[in-house]
Each structure stands twice: as C-alpha cells, then as structure tokens.
C-alpha cells in the first residue's frame, strides 16, 4: 500500500497517507482528565480512476470519520490527502468550493438528507449558481439532464421532498451529489435506509452512473453483499485502522484477517439454517484500546504476541492484498471454509 502511494500514477485519483483524526473527549476546562479518541489512526487509502473502493467495518470503526475528512468537513490531526492531483488541506472557503467540484457525497437517510423546505429545483440550482453557472439556459439544461440521468422527470423539479418516495428521494440525493460534475463520490450506506425492494434500483443506478459519467466511488457500507457487488477493491476497518485491504475477490474469497473472516461468517446464510459465527466479547472502548492488535481480545487465533504492543503493521503481499495481523501466515493455512461462499 505504501509503495503504491509513493508513486501515484495518473490513474490514481485519490490517495490518503497516514490519515489520523483524534478528538479530545471530556475533561475540565483546563484539560485535566481529557482523553483522546483516536477515531482514525493512520489510514492509507488509494482510489483509482473509475474504481469503486468499498470501506467496511462496524459502527465506530472510523469509516464515516474517514469520509468526513475526505470531504473537508473534519480537519485531520495528521496525514496527507491528495485528490485529483491537488493536496487537500485547511478549511478556507475557497478550498471548500474547489473541493466541492472534486468530491461529493450520497447520504444514508434520504428522508433527512433533503431540505424539507426546498424544491428539487432549488436543491439542484443553488449549487450551480454558487459555483458560477449563471446562464439561465445552462442551468436549465444541466438540471434537466441530471434529472434524466437519475431517472426522474424534469416536470417533477417543482416538487418538495415529501412528495417523493424514499427511492425517489435517494435519486434526488444522487442528482445533488452529481450536479457539480464531481470526480469522486462517497456513498455512505446509500441503500440501507431504503425498502428492500427498492435497493436494487439504487444500486443499479449508482453502477450505471459510474460508467456513463466516469466516476470513482468510495462505498461505505456494513452490508457486505452490497459491497461485494459494487466494489473493485475493499478496505476493512477496525477501531480506526485498516486491518485488511485488497481486491474484492481476495477479500471475499480468501479473507486473511480473522476480523474479516468473522464479519463474513456472521452474515446469515439464507440457504442454510446454520449457526452464525460469533466472537467473544464486545468492541473495546475506543478511548482505551487494547495494546497490540485491537482485535486480539475477540480473536480466536490470538496468542501472546497479539496482546502486546506494538500494533502489527499492514503487510502488503505482492498481489496487493494487505493484512494487519501477526498470525496471518499461520492462519492462511487454515482454509476459510464457508460453504455458502461458493
């Protein structure tokens, strides 16, 4: 991963190096008793043009914090983010506007992500005006084209969000994300708030738009089925760090980290009434993470080495599959046998 980041080719649209976001928690006015929440602690990512990178992990693992930092909504504690050749830094409003034309976001909850007091037209036109598109005809043209792209009719533009169903709202949300022609779109659980029978529509739409508009996606989800379907590469996060990353096939067919294996085996198999894989204990308190490997307390392969500092490093194999586990080689012999996956 590191090596790849060192020589970013033209095909890399986003590279993140050593991203860390720490939040001070609690404590008195003078800082006594203040503790540091390491929400993200040393994350490297690389997104290639036209690719979809799946970011998975349970709540609290830091995946949303990564997204917010990429969008410029959080100032990272350290790290370097390069998007489309531009280093991203600071919070100046000029930067924010430039950033807005590179990266956009599709939100989880289509009910909370549209301003209830704005028509679709205003939701889509205001950003254009803000970004210097003033010609009436151009605005109108782009608006119409975008609505068609996402499968809405131009005459629906005058309506308010509450007049649409959940699926349609998510289409509006997607249109808003794409109206400035961004290059990267971060999809934060884009279908999990939708009715099951609607999800396929949105997944298909996102994949179609990626092709027709040449977009690159970062797909954040806890639904591994959706991630497998959509992603080219996958990064698995646990307690602020990436524990495994690689091509989708490596991750889902030959998962190497015990945590990834647990995640996959915890998904109920509809074809078989079989026990689900469980782990010991609960997610450790992120304010007081364990020494050594963060997953060790819950890991059934853990040995003494795992419970001591330092944290294992993310070792990259020649095929680009990287794992953060002391015992990856030992475990690799133990085939990941889950009949459901074949």
């Amino acid at each position: 991963m590191h090596e790849a980041a060192m020589r970013p080719g033209d095909d890399v649209i986003l590279s993140v190096q050593d991203l860390a976001v720490h939040f001070p928690i609690g404590g008195s006015l003078l800082g006594h008793g203040q503790r540091l929440l390491r929400a993200v602690d040393g994350v490297d990512l690389e997104l290639k043009r036209g690719e979809c990178l799946g970011l998975v992990g349970e709540s609290g693992c830091g995946k949303s914090t990564v997204a917010l930092s990429l969008l410029g909504l959080l100032t990272p504690t350290r790290g370097r983010i390069v998007m489309d050749g531009q280093p991203v830094s600071g919070k100046q409003s000029g930067d924010r506007k430039a950033l807005a034309r590179i990266v956009q976001m599709v939100f989880q909850d289509p009910y909370a992500s549209l301003n209830p007091r704005q028509t679709v037209r205003r939701t889509l036109e205001d950003p254009l005006r803000l970004h210097g598109v003033t010609a009436r005809s151009e605005i109108e043209g782009r608006l119409e084209a975008m609505l068609k792209h996402v499968g809405l009719r131009p005459e629906q533009a005058g309506r308010y969000p509450h007049e649409f169903s959940g699926g349609q709202r998510q289409r509006i949300g997607i249109a808003r994300a794409l109206i400035l022609n961004p290059k990267i779109v971060i999809c934060d659980e884009p279908v999990s708030a939708l009715d099951v029978s609607i999800r396929a529509q949105i997944i298909n739409l996102l994949l179609e738009l990626k092709e027709t508009l040449g977009l690159s996606y970062i797909m954040i989800s806890h639904d591994l089925g959706v991630v497998e379907h959509m992603s080219d590469r996958v990064a698995v996060m646990y307690l602020g760090r990436i524990v495994e990353t690689g091509g989708w096939r490596e991750i889902f067919e030959r998962p190497a980290h015990p945590y990834t294996r647990t995640l996959i085996a915890a998904i109920p198999d509809p074809l078989r009434r079989a026990p689900l894989a469980t782990t010991k204990g609960e997610l450790p308190n992120p304010l007081n993470p364990p020494d050594g490997c963060a997953f060790a307390p819950r890991c059934r392969h853990a040995e003494a080495v795992c419970q001591r500092a330092p944290v294992p490093s993310l070792e990259t194999r020649p095929d680009g599959h990287a794992v953060r586990c002391w015992r990856a080689d030992d475990i690799a012999g133990e085939a990941f046998a889950d009949a459901a996956l074949t």
């Binding site: 009715d195 999800r199 806890h222 915890a266």
Partner: protein, 326 residues
C-alpha cells in the same frame, strides 16, 4: 388440547381508523405456529408484519384494532378472554422483544428491576426473591458479572447488552412463544450474530417457539423453519425456509430474492445487473385493488388488476397467493 397448535391466526383483519375512513392494514392473514417451532414473518415497512405481531400479544392501540378473524392460543380465542386473562398470558406465555433496545427499556429504572418485575407480576415472588432471580436471568443471557450489572441503567450498557437484557426479560417466565420484532436491525453484524445465536439456543433449550419479524429475508430464512412473506397487508407466500430462496412461487418473493446482492453471488456468477422490482411500496391508504402487487409485477394480467387471488396450496408444500404462481 394436544392437537391444537400453539398459536393459530385465522383470517385476521386489522383496521386503521382514519379521520373519515377505515382501511384494512392487514387482511386475510392466517398462519399457525407449533410448539417449539421457529416461524418468520418477512416484509417491507408498512406491510403489516409488526402490527400482526402486536395483535398476537394484544398490544394494538388506537387507531389500530382487530376488525375480524381469530387469534387462538392453545385453542383458546384470545379476543374472547377478559383483560386480566389476556394480561396473564402476556409476558408469562407470550413474550416479545423489540427493535430498539435503548428505547424499549425504561431509562430511569435499573435493568435488574426491569427483569425482576416479571417474577413479581407472574410468579408471585417478593421483590427480594425476584431480584435474586433477575441475577440468574441475566447470567443465562451471558451477561458478564450479572450481580453487578443488575444495578446498571440501560444507558450504561452497549446495544448488544441491552438486547440481551430484553431477551432476559422476555424469557424470564419461560414463555411458550417469543415474538422478536426486528431484534437485531439496530445492531452491527457481529453483535447480530451473537444475539441471534443466543436467542436460538435459549429457545431451543426451553422449547420456546419463535415468531421472528424482519425485513431481512436472509436472516429469517437462516433462523426460522418456515417463512411467510407479507406484502401490503397480506401474506403472499408461505414456505419452508429451505425452499424460499431456491424455488419461491410468488413474483414478489422472487423479486426480493433476485434484487438482493447476496454474498458470494458475484464470485460464482460474475456481476450482472440486479433485477429490480419496479415502482414503490404502497402506503396503507393506497393499496391497489386486485392483487396488491399487480402494479409492480411483470407478469400481471387483467385478472390481477381486478380480482384478489385466493390462497393456493403448492404441491411442494406451502401456500401462495398469486394467479400466475410458478
């Protein structure tokens, strides 16, 4: 008595009282659950699965009410029981756990006391005895250090722990039926796995039947022996869970199965466009006439628009409600 199923629902209709009109939120729903069985009720939001469950335990509140049909528990019709008799069943024989374990627990009462209430209410125990039993109940759902945890308040526990407390409450009196309404929707997958396994094991040990309600067809098929799929207030298909993914008969079930990207599919068959179910889930007030799925169904014909299909038995076992079933 021995032949009567544990619970039997027959032609249940639940009405929603509007300002000016009554509409049926649930209609023609029939199913039975045997002692110790696991039965799943699957559907999307607004399909009526949760209110069906609430009707079983007698917790429907205005503007919802049972309009017709029967719910029989061990052959006794629940609607005909007095309020006090119904309360004796509730919690003691039929118990329920809910989706949001945070809000489902009283925030200002220690969890131990919330468990102990069950023993005071149904087993005639004193508070002292009940508190002791609460510790045991908490231990049985594998909460570490139960003797200390009983004094904790819900906000001091994690989501998974809270749901364990809910299970401890529900199973406290050894009920015959546990209704689990989306018990893991608010939880992460690894926690979900733990809760499901806990529920499954405890109920199997004690011979408690489970009625599981969820939007997640995969989860229900994994947990339950039989599954009923609901759409817009009606059961459209009822099958053994082994068959529902392999050979479902109703276009809606088929649509659900096909439209979900399932783990392993891409590796096995490559990535193809997911099959979509067109249109939107109808709201209760806008249920279409005829077969309620007809506006979204690719196979719909004239008869589907005019006539509601009857329930038919399938040769392979199970029931389907479709004019053109596979």
């Amino acid at each position: 008595m021995t032949t009567a199923p544990l619970i039997e629902v027959e032609d249940l209709r639940i009405d929603l009282d509007g300002r000016s009109s009554r509409v049926a939120a649930v209609e023609d729903v029939s199913f039975r659950i045997e002692r110790g069985e696991t039965f799943g009720l699957v559907g999307e939001s607004g399909c009526g699965k949760s209110i069906t469950a609430l009707a079983l335990i007698g917790l429907l509140r205005r503007p919802l009410s049972v309009a017709s049909g029967a719910i029989r528990f061990e052959g006794r019709e629940i609607q005909s029981l007095s309020a006090a008799e119904q309360r004796d069943l509730r919690g003691d024989r039929i118990a329920m756990i809910f989706q949001e374990p945070m809000t489902a627990l009283n925030p200002v009462s220690p969890v131990g006391r919330q468990i102990a209430e069950m023993f005071v209410l149904h087993k005639g125990k004193s508070w002292r005895e009940a508190n002791q039993l609460a510790v045991e109940a908490l231990a049985s759902v594998r909460v570490p250090a139960p003797e200390r945890r009983v004094n904790d308040y819900p906000h001091q526990l994690s989501g998974g722990m809270r749901q364990r407390v809910m299970i401890a409450i529900a199973l406290a009196c050894g009920p015959d039926l546990l209704i689990a309404d989306e018990p893991t929707t608010a939880l992460d997958v690894t926690v979900q796995a733990e809760i499901i396994e806990l529920m499954r094991n405890l109920c199997a040990e004690r011979g408690t039947a489970i009625l599981m309600i969820s939007h997640d067809l995969g989860l229900v098929a994994n947990v339950c022996r039989r599954v009923a799929v609901m759409y817009a207030g009606r059961i459209v298909e009822q099958r053994g869970s082994d068959e529902i993914f392999r050979a479902c008969a109703h276009p809606y079930t088929q649509g659900l199965v096909d439209s979900l990207p399932r783990l392993g599919t891409r590796a096995a068959h490559g990535r193809s466009r997911l099959r979509e179910i067109a249109g939107v889930v109808p709201a209760i007030a806008d249920f279409p006439s005829g077969c309620r799925f007809n506006p979204r169904c690719a196979q719909a014909t004239e008869i589907c628009r005019t006539t509601a299909p009857e329930t038919t038995w399938l040769d392979a076992g199970g029931l389907v409600r479709c004019h053109h079933h596979a």
